[in-house]
């Protein structure tokens, strides 16, 4: 029987990294995610799996340590919270440009600036629209439970290596801090250096006489070469949209109204749906699991049966822009959000929903 352990979402990230063959974690302390590195330091995986854990001097350094580690074909990850992610945007752009796989966890807090250590979802644009410079995207996974925090580390690495692209786990303070039962999946071994050299022939494993040198770079001064590199990236993002959209629906089959919410807000909105249903209102929930690629097609599939759709966020209206693009003006797109780290109750969401549909 599978082993279940009660743990925080942040701890689940750490335990999952060790159990899923992660080669290296490089991080810098910041609330509300410091338990990730603290748990790793307590677990001492370098004595068991051989995983490297290092506290870097800054988020700028940790993301660049990922660039180095990923260049070696290793499974490397970091975690931080909003202000730290802002510092990492430079590195993420380089990782995307150099086509390097890695997993980055953002346990989002309230912003802008130093903001608050309470939960938030205000980093949606930063995560889904690039964040750093240039035309790039990342896989963005939005967990809404401690179990998903655990599972998305492995899924994140799978997708990062499938596309040779950074994968971001966009969590929030609630999901990071809450304790839940987590099922530990079977252990996965780390890859040996020989396996890496064979499986990832692009990696900087040392130039042997039988192959050309490997160079990891995002630089291409020749305009034609650089356009080709960009076209390749765009083709990859298109493929992500075709093959790796993930979402969950709750009571959407007969729904006349749908709430779209992710992360902790999706958990809260489930209760809102139940309340609406108890009153005979046909309300459903769409929970994007991948924020990029966004479940545009599912929203388009649902739109003809809907009277309204509503984005519920812990931000000032960011995801709503992707919903509007999907709906393309066919039905009203409503919005409810709280800022400053305030997490609304299901009742508050329900009141806001009713107010909008009765306008």
């Amino acid at each position: 029987m599978a082993e279940h352990i009660l743990m925080k979402g942040n701890e689940a990230i750490a335990i999952s990294a060790i159990r899923n063959g992660c080669d290296g974690y490089f991080g810098y302390p910041i609330t509300p995610q410091s338990e990730i590195m603290e748990t790793l330091m307590v677990e001492k995986p370098w004595e068991t799996t051989g995983m490297v854990v290092l506290q870097a001097e800054s988020e700028t350094s940790s993301i660049n340590m990922l660039y180095g580690g990923a260049s070696c074909g290793k499974k490397v990850m970091t975690s931080s919270s909003s202000p730290g992610l802002s510092l990492m945007c430079e590195g993420l752009s380089y990782l995307a440009g150099a086509e390097l796989p890695c997993v980055v966890v953002n346990v989002v807090r309230g912003g802008p600036g130093l903001g608050t250590i309470q939960p938030g979802q205000g980093d949606y644009f930063q995560a889904c629209k690039g964040g750093g410079h240039g035309d790039y995207k990342m896989i963005v996974l939005a967990p809404s439970s401690a179990q998903e925090m655990y599972d998305f580390v492995d899924l994140g690495f799978d997708l990062a290596f499938k596309y040779l692209s950074p994968a971001l786990i966009l969590a929030d303070g609630v999901v990071g801090q809450m304790m839940e039962k987590v099922e530990l999946r079977p252990m996965k071994d780390r890859m040996s250096n020989e396996e890496i050299a064979q499986k990832y022939p692009w990696a900087t494993t040392g130039k042997t006489p039988d192959r050309k040198q490997n160079v990891i770079t995002s630089l291409a001064l020749d305009a034609a070469v650089h356009e080709r590199l960009n076209d390749k990236l765009q083709a990859k993002y298109k493929q992500m949209e075709e093959e790796d959209v993930r979402f969950e629906t709750y009571m959407c089959e007969d729904a006349e109204h749908v709430i779209v919410a992710y992360g902790c807000m999706a958990r809260i909105c489930e209760s809102t749906i139940d309340q609406a249903r108890a009153e005979g209102i046909k309300l459903g929930l769409l929970r994007p699991i991948t924020l990029f690629p966004f479940p545009t097609k599912e929203i388009q599939r649902l739109t003809p049966q809907l009277k309204t759709i509503m984005s519920v966020e812990l931000s000032a209206g960011q995801m709503i822009e992707d919903i509007r693009l999907a709906v393309n003006g066919q039905i009203p797109v409503n919005f409810f959000g709280r800022l400053g780290g305030i997490v609304p109750s299901p009742e508050e969401v329900y009141e806001a929903f009713k107010k909008e549909i009765n306008k």
Partner: protein, 253 residues
């Protein structure tokens, strides 16, 4: 004896190492980068570690170092090479990992990364090219620009009020516990180049003995940035750079 009798394979005493590629370097005539590239390539060749060496190139003129040394390379963001090297050396503890960085990269935008990598004693080699100027962007003032020196962003000469004094980063680095070998060399003459090669060799050997960070500064000339001929630039370097950046070992243990 006729020249054609001398030029025979059995009489060859010096030729290009195969670790250097056949690409023509993009550097300006007389640039120190080319000489230092060659010395590193020769050390890699002589130690037989081409398949175990991973270079980290910076942003700056030497961003294209990977076109000239036939080894695996990672090209880093500006100043971040020591962070890449840290992860690479820790994940591949049996490889030889070196960064190649200029003064803008290492001593300005990348001070945090180089300080902490050296302080942790990462088992890496750092090659630091100090020519007191930003070469690639067109000759702007660097942290190591000398007092009074005219650059594109100090057109009336570096003055203390406006810019502060030159940063003696290598002296700072030598204070850090993690460094095992800190030296300052140059390549304007054959004797100096041979000394620099010995220093680079020692740094790579320290790596195999896992002694910590080895730091080799090469005081270099940027004749285009300094607006001098290659030969005059080397003379100016000896006259003006060496008093501020004296050659020799700062630390060897």
């Amino acid at each position: 004896m006729d020249v054609k009798d001398i030029i025979k394979p059995e009489n060859k005493v010096y030729s290009k190492t195969s670790v250097l590629t056949d690409n023509v370097m993009h550097y300006c005539p007389g640039c120190s980068h080319g000489t230092v590239h060659k010395l590193i390539a020769e050390v890699i060749d002589e130690m037989g570690i081409q398949d175990k060496t991973i270079g980290i190139s910076p942003v700056g003129c030497s961003v294209f170092a990977y076109n000239y040394l036939d080894i695996d390379w990672q090209q880093a963001a500006h100043g971040r090479a020591p962070a890449l090297a840290t992860a690479t050396a820790r994940l591949f503890p049996d490889k030889y990992v070196f960064t190649y960085q200029g003064d803008g990269d290492l001593a300005s935008i990348g001070t945090a990364e180089i300080m902490h990598a050296c302080n942790r004693g990462e088992n890496i080699v750092v090659i630091f090219i100090n020519n007191a100027i930003y070469g690639m962007t067109g000759g702007q003032m660097a942290p190591t620009t000398l007092m009074g020196m005219k650059t594109a962003t100090s057109p009336y000469g570096r003055c203390e009020e406006l810019h502060g004094k030159p940063l003696k980063i290598t002296e700072l680095i030598s204070q850090l516990e993690g460094t095992c070998y800190v030296t300052r060399q140059s390549v304007q003459s054959a004797a100096a180049a041979r000394k620099t090669k010995r220093a680079i060799r020692k740094a790579f050997e320290n790596c195999s003995q896992k002694k910590g960070t080895s730091f080799v500064e090469v005081v270099s000339a940027c004749n285009s940035g300094w607006k001098l001929s290659p030969v005059k630039a080397n003379e100016w370097m000896v006259e003006n750079m060496f008093p501020n950046y004296p050659l020799g070992d700062l630390k060897d243990r």
